[in-house]
């Protein structure tokens, strides 16, 4: 089993990408950790008609 990646996390501490609640990112920043917040939103639902057009185009 590979182990380096988790070992690296524990040795370096979190260098985080935050996807969701902004408060979690600010709390990490308050602890002087590097963090990037992703301005996340769900992918819009594509209607059947548009899906058909995209399928034809692609």
């Amino acid at each position: 089993m590979k182990t380096a990646a988790l070992k690296d996390l524990l040795e370096q501490g979190p260098i985080a990408i935050n996807i969701g609640l902004l408060e979690f990112a600010t709390a990490l920043q308050d602890q002087s950790r590097d963090v990037i917040h992703v301005d996340w939103s769900p992918r819009p639902e594509i209607g059947e008609e548009l899906k058909g057009i995209l399928d034809e185009l692609l």
């Binding site: 089993m1 182990t3 990646a5 501490g13 985080a16 979690f24 992703v38 769900p42």
Partner: protein, 517 residues
């Protein structure tokens, strides 16, 4: 004043639940508004709004990626709010030194050495985001719940194969190299490593270790289902492996509800080969029923677990962790009570505290009702209606759909304190107050008025209402431990340093009442 209802939909506008709850609260406080909701247009949210009487026809036009604001009240007032809705959707500016990114790909490009994805998006989207993060070499802290068990297993298998860990789903807390992730306390670093399926369990344990002068190497969450036989303990095993290898960890503590039988055997087998001493608390499972290696011992409460872990690293629980003198306190409180006062009502923000309090009662032969009953306790028919001794997890889904968790917003709990305090059969209110990152900025202050009012009202009725509160926190927490304890005392509560001690006090009051004292 004529009552109207309005539903406003904003297509493809996503906001997180914490922000939307704040929007709904502010809208609900406006003149002429009797009810307000701001949610994403998921099927569950739409169903809840339809049940509240909002137009099904209008709501059917909303997709999960759409914002829905529903208002009830004076027609003119709510139409004015809908016309100016954008004003209410402006988020206070928060500067992040690392910046923001428009996508996970962009974030990975901006910060190439990232090693952790912290994911708190709605459950139906969470597994895809977690899988993507694992594919790019990041471990995952997965706060989101409502992730399917099939997705959880697939994510954890992927993590295992890549030498990563998935902490979650439904993971509230982690401490990694001294950094708190999610709802975590400010705890010094030290020789004790922790693996926990319970967020508030991890918080209580790490605070007890800190307050005894020792510290935590790492505290790794696993998600509430990790030790079930369906999941099989992937994250627990990965965390044990990591802590065994970690040079800063001298002893390991495991905190969980009872594991599945097969999984417990797997964990026992792993621990027999562990080179470091391990102690565990499987809340609800008798310590004698677990057979591990010579160095693997189990304890029934988090306080006992902390004492054992401290012992393994040459430390001991601090004398400051002794609460008010139990015998004197119980006697003083009981003698002021009316004959009708017989029962305890526990109102908890932390699910583990609700569970642990039941364990303390069960060990004393006291049967209680709960919305999250331990085996041997009674299930409440309705979590809103207490019966005899009732211990209520107010962070359970039934209380938090569309409303904030009680660790963030105490409104529901404060209201419930008032209700329970009016019941002439209630002798003790048992509460927890949880400090740390991402919790309410003043959790004791949020409850203080409700506590003092309940006590004063009882006094007017010729009763004496005892309030026992434990504070889960440290001197380094943003809210300030001493300050929070002082606020509770000034409101009339007895303050204990742990949930176990507060529950033992409540238990002793009840036992004394049963003796007819």
């Amino acid at each position: 004043m004529s009552q109207s209802r309005e539903v406003a939909i904003r297509k493809n506008r996503y906001f997180d639940s914490v922000f939307l709850m704040a929007v709904a609260r502010r809208l609900g406080e406006q003149s002429g508004v009797s009810a307000a909701a701001a949610v994403m247009g998921t099927p569950a949210n739409k169903e809840a709004l339809i049940e509240m009487g909002f137009s099904e026809r209008k709501l059917n036009a909303a997709d999960p990626s759409d914002l829905v604001v529903a208002l009830e009240g004076d027609g003119e007032a709510i139409r004015s709010l809908v016309d100016n809705l954008e004003e209410w959707l402006v988020r206070p500016k928060m500067e992040l030194s690392g910046g923001t990114a428009i996508s996970v790909d962009a974030a990975l490009s901006q910060q190439g050495n990232s090693n952790l994805a912290v994911i708190s998006v709605p459950g139906e989207y969470a597994a895809a985001e977690a899988s993507y993060a694992l594919d790019h070499g990041l471990s995952v802290f997965l706060f989101s719940d409502h992730v399917s068990i099939e997705d959880e297993i697939a994510l954890k298998q992927k993590a295992r194969d890549a030498g990563l860990i998935v902490m979650g789903p439904d993971c509230g807390t982690a401490l990694i190299a001294g950094t708190g992730v999610g709802f975590a306390n400010v705890v010094r670093r030290g020789p004790v490593g922790v693996v926990a399926s319970s967020g508030t369990g991890l918080q209580e344990f790490t605070c007890l270790v800190h307050r005894s002068g020792s510290g935590i190497s790492h505290g790794l969450g696993t998600g509430s289902r990790d030790l079930s036989d369906e999941v099989g303990g992937f994250s627990t095993l990965a965390a044990i492996d990591a802590l065994e290898r970690d040079s800063g960890t001298r002893a390991i503590a495991i905190i969980s509800k009872p594991p599945g039988k097969k999984t417990l055997k797997r964990i026992e087998k792993r621990l027999k080969a562990c080179s470091k001493p391990v102690v565990a608390c499987f809340l609800g499972l008798s310590p004698g029923s677990v057979s591990g290696a010579k160095q693997f011992r189990t304890y029934s409460t988090l306080d006992d677990l902390a004492a054992a872990a401290l012992g393994l690293v040459g430390a001991r629980p601090a004398t400051s962790l002794s609460g008010p003198n139990a015998a004197d306190s119980v006697g003083n409180e009981v003698q002021r009570m009316a004959a009708t006062q017989q029962y305890v009502r526990g109102l908890f923000a932390g699910g583990t505290f609700c569970y642990q309090s039941q364990q303390v009662f069960q060990d004393a032969g006291i049967v209680a009702y709960s919305n999250a009953p331990l085996e041997g306790m009674h299930k409440m028919a309705d979590g809103n209606k207490s019966i005899e001794h009732s211990l209520v997890d107010m962070g359970a889904d039934e209380f938090t759909v569309g409303t904030p968790h009680p660790m963030i917003d105490a409104t529901q709990r404060a209201r419930r304190i008032g209700i329970e305090g009016q019941d002439p059969a209630v002798a003790v209110l048992l509460l927890d107050v949880i400090l740390g990152y991402n919790a309410s900025p003043d959790p004791a202050g949020d409850l203080a008025e409700a506590i003092s009012t309940a006590k004063a009202n009882a006094m007017k009725d010729g009763r004496y209402l005892s309030v026992a509160a434990s504070v889960c926190g440290t001197d380094g927490d943003p809210q300030g431990l001493e300050n929070q304890e002082r606020i509770l005392r000034e409101a009339g509560a007895m303050v204990f340093p742990s949930n176990v001690q507060a529950t033992e006090f409540a238990r002793d009051v009840i036992l004394r009442r049963l003796e007819g004292d």
